[in-house]
């Protein structure tokens, strides 16, 4: 697959879901570098540290909503406080199982953020990778 997405970050406290997402991406394109974070705090810490070093940053973040301490929406708020460099370089995609209408609406209302349901499909990945 010819792609401009080289590095992907997965933020999901559920290890199994994290594994599935990572596996589906690598099955489609083994060259994509995947960083898995089971803690949203550690993930945002990483982004804060490297917010001005694009070579360390993911092109795309797959973000879960239901996570302890810092949930997906809190994560996006923190992300929005980061540098212009990272906001230009990194795109966020919410990846969730939520059945809560309010959350689905909240996820869709911000057009700069992508949204899809778990499990992620290869069609969806191909759509955003190309």
């Amino acid at each position: 697959m010819n792609t401009k997405v080289k590095k992907v970050m997965i933020v999901d406290d559920n290890e199994f879901d994290c594994y599935i997402t990572s596996k589906i991406i690598n099955n489609l394109d083994p060259t994509v570098d995947i960083m898995e974070f089971n803690s949203s705090l550690t993930a945002i810490g990483y982004l804060e540290e490297f917010q001005n070093s694009p070579e360390k940053l993911p092109n795309l973040i797959f973000l879960d909503i239901y996570m302890p301490i810092l949930d997906g929406f809190d994560f996006i708020e923190k992300f929005n406080e980061l540098s212009g460099v990272i906001k230009e370089y990194t795109k966020i995609c919410i990846l969730s199982t939520t059945v809560d209408d309010l959350y689905i609406h909240k996820a869709r209302v911000n057009e700069s953020i992508l949204f899809t349901s778990k499990p992620i499909t290869k069609e969806f990945i191909q759509g955003i990778f190309n």
Binding site: I24, K118, K122
Partner: protein, 251 residues
Amino acid sequence: MRLIKAIVVDSNIDVINQLSKFADENAIIIDVCGFCDNLKQSISFIKEHKPELIFLQPTADNLASFSLLKELDFNIPKFIFISDDLTNAYDAYKHSAVDFQKKPLDFNELIISIYKVIKLIEMEISFQNQKVNQIKSLSVENSDNGFIAISSSDKIELIKLEDIVYCKAEGKYTEFVLSNKQKILSSKNLGEYSSILISNYFFRIHHSYVVNVKQIIKITKKDGLYCEFAHGISLPVAKRRQEEFVKFIKL
């Protein structure tokens, strides 16, 4: 992470090889503990190993053997059907298979099937836990600990059952009258309390009243039965409840 135990019931060598390879690559989530040609022969193996998932070739023979699974004395495994023949998808639905895969197998499709199986199992477990907890909390509410929790819009009050004189239905609310004349309004209706109260020494004398039998001072007969309490409170017993009431207080 959850490791799912599976067996393969398929006579096709390509399917067996592909599933073996898939299981090797994904050993962190799936353990294929055995291969069998057909369902009939696999039953004893299934009984022994208790797999959570069966990859099944839906041959006419295997479909006919489905009833054998009813003998299992544990949770019936989930199924993923694997076939060239799309009409087997109908059989998959009929037998509540979690997914249907066409040959040749695609590993990303398989991963999604496994995802569906695990999520279904997790949902079933969490639904069951929720039910069990509900039942537990109901038993606690009903247990005779001598107290009742009365919730109103801004607080929850714990009241000793013995202090209640009677409860009165006020539309969708309930008014509790206590022996010290205090009145408490609850935001639940009388019906929601009656199951807790009636297992104790309370009796519903009237559509609108549940009374504490221990607080009754005397019962007067004058155009029907009346329960009299301290502070001059008197409540009527509904005609159609009189007989049952008399039986109850004689106990």
